[in-house]
């Protein structure tokens, strides 16, 4: 079956899956990822619900599949600039940003030892720093270093160049542009967490101990900024009481009108993170409806006794300016009482915003009112996969990406 190549944009779990699934059926695939590593948001997650297993396990298998498969070409630190043509015959321009570290890099790490500059580590949501030359994280694939050119002192420092025995560092590396000819495009650029500071009454970015669910994953991860200790950002104190505030933006006409679909399960899962470290911790979850679809109900049933579930939409979160403790104000819809409970930390279950709500495709395509790629998009040969289509969990994203791979193959064999 000789047919044209497929371009997959986005190297998160959806993109990786789409690329591997198509290539294992025989297609040539180009995989373009903006960051220096594959894995996307999944690489930042500590454990999956409902099995509480580490995402790196599945990523490792997927990377193994990529490693043995010569039909997949990966472009990291790359972006799609233009798309021209039509189904079966697209010409795509890909801009490959300079990592300033070439293929010679062995990831030995000598460069980072001598680098004098630090930068905020976005992999850990800024909770710690890396050097200006850094490996994105320890499971990073491809396992190479890259340089943050915004903070690198350049040739006048040049310490890393000196330390590198393998001539891997090219401080003057230039941006490259290349043209790809493909028969179909899978757009899998994923999602961003809704900006929690827009829900002003929850005090995110004002109250130090109000964090979001995505940050919680890094706090709990053994390779995170606190080596897995769930502690308060304000004082590093171990968390003894915590509140999960559901629908922080989702199901709210003023923010995201839709339900983000995963946050209930994510918070229930994160409750187990806290309980694992401190079985006596006071854990509350404030919700509108608990949405544990299908067999996920089992997990909900299992963990229900681990936490106190209160039906009610949180109205306000205030901070004690001295202790930095937080008070959550909520009307308990079961009892009707107004609750004012104090917590060490609050986790906002922020929703999913499709990446396409901000960054559109450089080609005409229809989107729904929330910025998701419309299901009846009228652009043959271009397919959304994963959270650019609707909010979904990992298993659903993988399923959807596998489906997208077949749609793309159809576009490449169609006469």
């Amino acid at each position: 079956m000789a047919h044209k190549s497929i371009l997959v944009v986005g190297g998160g779990v959806s993109g990786i899956t789409a690329a591997i699934e198509a290539s294992e059926a025989g297609s040539e695939v180009y995989l373009v990822e903006q960051k220096s590593y594959l894995g996307g948001k999944v690489a930042q997650i500590y454990q999956y619900f409902p099995k509480l297993c580490p995402p790196n396990c599945g990523l490792e298998i997927n990377f193994k599949r990529i490693k043995q498969n010569p039909k997949i070409s990966i472009f990291t630190l790359a972006e799609v600039e233009t798309i021209e043509g039509k189904e079966g015959d697209f010409t795509v321009t890909v801009k490959s940003n300079a990592s300033r570290v070439n293929q010679n890099c062995t990831a030995c790490g000598k460069c980072a030892e001598v680098c004098p500059v630090e930068r905020s580590n976005e992999f850990n949501y800024g909770l710690d720093n890396t050097k200006a030359i850094y490996k994105a994280h320890e499971f990073a694939f491809p396992m190479k270093y890259s340089i943050d050119d915004k903070v690198c002192l350049g040739a006048e420092c040049g310490k890393c160049v000196e330390a590198c025995k393998y001539d891997a560092i090219e401080l003057d590396m230039a941006t490259k542009s290349l043209k790809l000819n493909v028969g179909a495009i899978i757009w899998a650029t994923g999602w961003d967490a809704y900006d929690a500071s827009k829900v002003a009454y929850y005090g995110y970015s004002q109250h130090q101990n109000v964090i979001t669910n995505v940050i919680m994953e890094r706090l709990a991860a053994p390779n995170g900024p606190t080596r897995g200790k769930i502690v308060r950002p304000s004082d590093g104190k171990a968390v003894e009481s915590i509140a999960f505030v559901q629908c922080a933006g989702s199901r709210d006409e003023n923010h995201l009108a839709y339900c983000s679909g995963v946050c209930c399960m994510a918070s229930l899962k994160q409750a187990t993170y806290v309980k694992e470290q401190n079985p006596d911790a006071k854990v509350y979850m404030f919700y509108i409806d608990v949405r544990a679809m299908g067999k996920h109900e089992d997990f909900y049933t299992k963990v229900q006794n681990e936490l106190t579930l209160i039906k009610g939409k949180v109205g306000e979160i205030t901070e004690d300016p001295i202790t930095k403790d937080l008070t959550v104000l909520v009307e308990n819809q079961v009892t009707g009482e107004i609750m004012k409970d104090k917590f060490d930390m609050v986790v906002l279950a922020t929703g999913m915003v499709p990446a396409t709500a901000g960054l559109k495709l450089p080609v005409e395509l229809s989107y729904d009112e929330d910025g998701f790629i419309a299901t009846d998009s009228k652009q043959p040969g271009i397919y959304g996969a994963g959270c650019v289509k609707k909010p979904m969990d990992v298993a659903s994203s993988v399923k959807d990406a596998t489906a997208a791979a077949l749609k793309a193959i159809q576009s490449t064999v169609r006469r």
Binding site: C53, E60, R65, Q68, M143, R251, C259, A403
Partner: protein, 739 residues
């Protein structure tokens, strides 16, 4: 092939600074009598890799040993094509990065590591892919509902012939009974006409062969070569099939079990299914002719109920909301109640929920305590209203609709207790979990391991993997749609398309002789030395994928395209007759023998680790990458799966004087993480039997230990090793040292 081996020792990345490379080279040249042995400071660089390629081209080197970094990196640089045997010795991540430099023990570790690789390559042979006979590319889809129709159509659109088999006389399944379908596009507020065009399209497609009124009588064979017998209204048809999609769907939960909700007692308590039928007829009227002015939907009728279906059926909230709009549209004055536990409208279905609220729907969160009928056959619902705290009684309601849940079609039929590993120990928890197979008369597989797909909880034959939702325990057979998990129409369409992708992949890979997920690209397959087989049936019983059949004399009949190449059969075989060209019992045995065991008075114990190459081995790498140091007595042998562990290796190691053996594998039990389903669990079961053998040798059973580690447990590895080492110190040295 006459092997000419080249050993390439990299001195980069601290290796040269921490090891005596000259001494290490002697292991290759003197002990191993290897003709070519070179070192270089940068083998993965252009010059270094060119050096190896030049030796291959000019010196006739055809067997390459790279003693450098982990095989997890530089896989592309060190790929010399299919005609070269290549093995890696992990000096960097697992030796120099986690052990002190220029230390006697570190050096011994490196030398043993190279010895083990050399012992291995002596026996590794190039793989020759298996070629099946008369292989075809046709996909069989069982079940002609929305999922099945979609699968057949999507397969055909990708250029594959499909055969669609439906039990009833027409295609369409549940679609035929619907008045409208739930919205499938923005703004998700209004129900849509049922997509009957899809049925017409599949019927008209030249590459789809449709059999209605037909059932599968038998599926025999293996991917690429299934022989399928179809019984269409008594006529027998056979089809040669490449791979299979199971799309037989789900049925509503039996409402007669819901008499506490008045079903069967009261005429006007109906199911959601009946509601569709009534709505299709036009104005909603009751059987007694009364126009429906008020209606109540009872959510979770059977679902989320430990006495009925413990799971959530995932579509009932949206379905009831959709049905609520039927009445709201006909009669905006009508009263619509929805009694619920949680309204579950994920994603954009939230908008349908909002719409029904906006149009006057009354939502009551509460458990139904009673449903009664008045003289006019109206219904009065009593519910404990969670929100107000009171038990409320509704006004008279014309009709009550029960949102019954979904039961997969695989959940019916006699439970076939599949023979599992016979386990002599009394400990129940050391027995492997039984595969549940119900004789549901859907596929009728002519498999030794049972006629249908093994199911997980609640009868769903779904995948246990979050990352791999199409993982299947019957290679080449993929479940899709509501038979796999409760799902709505949009999900069923995606699922059908995804499963078709996997079915196509299986066809393509089987034709090449390659394994399917997760070992795609592996061209090796198990070879059975049948003359030594004792017909013990262990291989057929233990294979988690049901890949091995038996003849009438209980001889195993392997089916290579069903095989996942995990090696569990190799581990199971007490006669050790099962081998792969590049992975076998004697090969690992020789690796063990290659370990130099110091005399007792040297006080250098040896610990052998069998590490699952999917999780434990990368975790050991991560320990090194994080420069955590650990016990230097260990020697590591990666295995395809812990299930491929043959207990003779334990005897081999013990008789050689190795002090302890540690198995590092994936978590098993309900939330198992083993990529080969039962491999790590089977290893644990075998371990239970080892105790006896050790006892006979006068060795303590805790010289062999198994630990479950996942890939992120690297920080725990040093402590795991220390604790084991401490125990071994207590036990003292293995008395077989020096024998």
């Amino acid at each position: 092939m006459v092997k000419k081996t080249g050993v390439y020792i990299c001195t980069g990345c601290d290796i040269g600074d921490s090891l005596d490379i000259a001494a290490l080279s002697k292991v290759a040249t003197k002990e191993g009598k290897v003709p070519v042995c070179k070192s270089h400071a940068f083998f993965c660089g252009t010059e270094g890799s060119a050096l190896i390629k030049s030796d291959i081209e000019n010196e006739g080197v055809n067997t390459v040993v790279i003693a450098a970094c982990s095989p997890r990196v530089n896989y592309d640089v060190f790929d010399f094509g299919p005609s070269i045997i290549m093995e890696r010795t992990n000096l960097r991540e697992q030796i120099t990065w986690c052990h002190p430099a220029n230390d006697e023990d570190t050096q011994m570790m490196a030398e043993d590591s190279l010895r083990m690789t050399l012992a291995k390559v002596k026996q590794v042979e190039l793989t020759e892919p298996y070629q099946g006979e008369n292989m075809v590319e046709t996909i069989l889809v069982v079940g002609g509902g929305l999922t099945g129709i979609t699968a057949a159509l999507e397969g055909a659109k990708a250029g594959y012939k499909t055969v669609l088999v439906e039990k009833s006389p027409v295609l369409g399944g549940w679609m035929n009974g619907l008045f409208k379908q739930a919205p499938q596009k923005s703004p998700y507020t209004t129900p849509e006409e049922v997509d009957v065009d899809r049925i017409k399209e599949v019927e008209a497609h030249p590459d789809v062969k449709v059999y209605v009124g037909a059932e599968i009588q038998e599926i025999a064979g293996a991917p690429g070569m299934f022989d399928v017998t179809i019984n269409q209204n008594g006529t027998i048809i056979t089809e040669r099939i490449g791979s299979v999609i199971l799309a037989t769907g789900a049925v509503p939960y039996d409402p007669t079990k819901l008499d506490h909700l008045g079903y069967g007692k009261f005429d006007n308590v109906i199911t959601g299914q009946k509601m569709e039928e009534l709505a299709s007829k036009g104005k909603l009227v009751r059987p007694d002719g009364k126009e429906v002015q008020s209606i109540a939907f009872i959510q979770c009728a059977g679902s989320r109920d430990s006495e009925h279906l413990p799971y959530c059926s995932a579509t009932c909230c949206v379905e009831s909301l959709k049905q609520a709009t039927y009445l709201q549209e006909q009669n905006p004055e009508a009263t619509v109640y929805i009694f619920y536990k949680d309204i579950r409208t994920p994603g954009q279905y939230e908008r349908l929920y909002k719409q029904v609220q906006k149009d006057g729907g009354i939502f009551v969160k509460g458990d139904i305590t009673a449903i009664n009928e008045d003289d006019e056959k109206n219904l009065i619902i009593q519910a404990a209203d969670v929100l107000s705290g009171a038990v409320i009684s509704s006004e008279s309601i014309d009709m009550v609709v029960l949102a019954t849940g979904m039961v997969p079609t695989t959940a019916f039929g006699e439970n076939l207790i599949v023979e599992t590993v016979s386990c002599d120990t009394d400990k129940k928890d050391s027995e492997p979990t039984e595969a549940v197979i119900l004789k549901s008369n859907l596929l009728n597989l002519a498999y030794r391991q049972g006629p249908e797909m093994p199911t997980l909880k609640y009868g769903f034959p779904d995948s246990h993997f979050i990352c791999f939702p199409y993982e299947t325990r019957r290679t080449g057979i993929y479940a899709a749609g509501s038979v796999r998990a409760p799902m709505d129409e949009i999900s069923a369409i995606e699922d059908a398309t995804g499963a078709t992708m996997k079915a196509i992949q299986c066809i393509e890979l089987s034709a090449q002789g390659s394994a399917v997920h997760p070992r795609v690209g592996d061209m090796s397959f198990p070879d059975f030395a049948m003359q030594r087989c004792t017909q013990c049936k262990r291989c057929t019983v233990e294979c988690p994928f049901g890949s091995i059949n038996e003849d009438e004399k209980f001889n195993p009949i392997p089916n290579h395209t069903r095989c996942r190449r995990c090696g569990i059969c190799m581990g199971a075989c007490p006669e050790r007759i099962i081998s792969f060209k590049n992975y076998s019992v004697p090969m690992i045995g020789n690796m063990i023998k290659a370990i130099e065991v110091p005399e007792e008075d040297e006080e250098k114990p040896r610990i052998l680790i069998f590490a699952c190459e999917n999780d434990a081995y990368p975790a050991l790498d991560m320990t090194g990458i994080n420069r955590l140091s650990y016990n230097a007595w260990v020697r590591v042998i990666p295995v395809r799966c812990l299930g491929s562990l043959n207990i003779v290796w334990i005897a081999d190691a013990m008789s050689q004087g190795i002090d302890g053996i540690l198995l590092l594998g994936c978590k098993h039990g309900e939330d198992y993480q083993c990529h080969f389903i039962q491999g790590s669990e089977l290893a644990e079961v075998r371990l239970g039997k080892v105790a006896e053998t050790l006892g006979r040798l006068d060795l303590e059973s805790d010289r062999v230990r198994m630990e479950q580690v996942n890939i992120t447990d690297y920080d725990k590895i040093p402590a795991i090793l220390d604790s084991f080492s401490d125990r071994l110190q207590e036990l003292g040295p293995n008395p077989y040292k020096g024998f």
